[in-house]
Amino acid sequence: MNRFVAWFHRWGSPKHFYDMSGRWAPWMAGLFFLTFIPGLYYSLIGSPPDYQQGESARIMYIHVPAAWMSMFIYAVMAIAGAVTLIWKMKLADIVAQVSAPIGASFTLLALVTGSLWGKPMWGTYWVWDARLTSELILLFLFLGYIALTTSIDDKRQAARAGAVLALVGVVNLPIIHYSVEWWSTLHQPSTVKVMGKSAIHMSMLIPLLLMSFAFKFYYAWVVLISARAEVLDRDKGTRWAEEAAGEKGR
C-alpha cells in the first residue's frame, strides 16, 4: 500500500483522529492568540482613524475577516462534501457538520457588523443590494445545511444530502465575490487584492491581515475540538473511547 493511501486510512480511524486532534488543537489555539491579541491592539489602538469614516472604520477589522471566513468555511464544507460523496470518508462529513454552525456565525457576524457600519456611513442598516443579498443567502445556505442534516436520522443519508446541498450552494460563492463588479451596488468593491496593488494603507492592512489570520487559526482550532467531541460521541460505546475516558486530566 502506498504511503498516501496509508495516511488516508489512518485519518479515517476515529481513535487516531481523536489523538491527533488533541495534539494539534493547542497549537492552533496558540497561533490564534498570537495573531488575535496584536490584531486586536492594532484594530482598536494601533491604527489611525480613517480620514472619511473616522473611528467607525475599526468595524472593518471584524467585518472583512468575518466575511472572508464565511466564504472560506463554505468552500471547506463543499470540498468536504465532495470527499464525502466520492470516498465516503466519515471524517470529511464530520468536518462539514461541525463547520456549518461556525460558518453561520461568521456570516451573521459579517452581516451584523456591516449593518452597524452601514447605519452611520450609508444612513441605513440594510439595503437589498447584490452583495448584501448574496451574503444573506449564504447565511440561509448554512442554516439550511444544519436543518437538513439534523432532520435526517440516518447518519449516512444525512451526510449525503448535506454534501449535495453544500456542493449546489457553491454557485453562490462567485456571486458574492463578483457581486460588487457585476451589479452596481452600494457596497464598495474590494480594496485588498491578492493579485495587484491593494488600495489600502499599510497601517490598516496590518490589523486586517492579523485579524484574518487569527480567524483562520481560530477556525482550525474549533474544527479540531468540535470534530474531536463529535468523534468521541459517535464512538462512545467503543473500547478506545472507554480508554480515553480512563485517562485522567485529558
Binding site: 482598536l44 489602538i45 482613524p49 473616522g54 473611528e55 467607525s56 475599526r58 468595524i59 471584524i62 467585518h63 468575518a66 461541525v98 454552525p101 461556525i102 456565525s105 461568521f106 451573521l108 457576524l109 451584523v112 457588523t113 452597524l116 457600519w117 447605519k119 452611520p120 481560530y218 482550532w221 474549533v222 475540538i225 468540535s226 474531536r228 467531541a229 468521541l232 460521541d233 462512545k236 473500547r239 473511547a241 472507554e242 480508554e243 480515553a244 475516558a245 480512563g246 485522567k248
Partner: protein, 62 residues
C-alpha cells in the same frame, strides 16, 4: 480613556460589533469543550454502572 470608549462618536456601532465577535468566538470554543466533558463523564458513569472502573480499563487488563 473616555475618548477611547466614545470612538469619535461611533462607540454605539463599534463596540457592539466587537462584542458580538467576542461572543461568537467564545461560544464555539466553549460548546465542544463542554460536549467532550459530558461524553467522557457519560462513559465513566456507564463503566461504573457495569462495575468496570474507568481507570482500570486500559488495554490488556482483562
Amino acid at each position: 480613556m473616555n475618548e477611547f470608549f466614545a470612538m469619535g462618536g461611533y462607540g454605539a456601532f463599534v463596540w457592539p460589533s466587537y462584542l458580538l465577535g467576542f461572543l461568537i468566538l467564545i461560544a464555539h470554543v466553549a460548546a465542544p469543550a463542554n460536549r467532550r466533558r459530558r461524553v467522557l463523564n457519560e462513559i465513566r458513569r456507564r463503566l461504573r454502572r457495569e462495575g468496570r472502573a474507568a481507570d482500570k480499563s486500559s488495554a490488556g487488563s482483562e
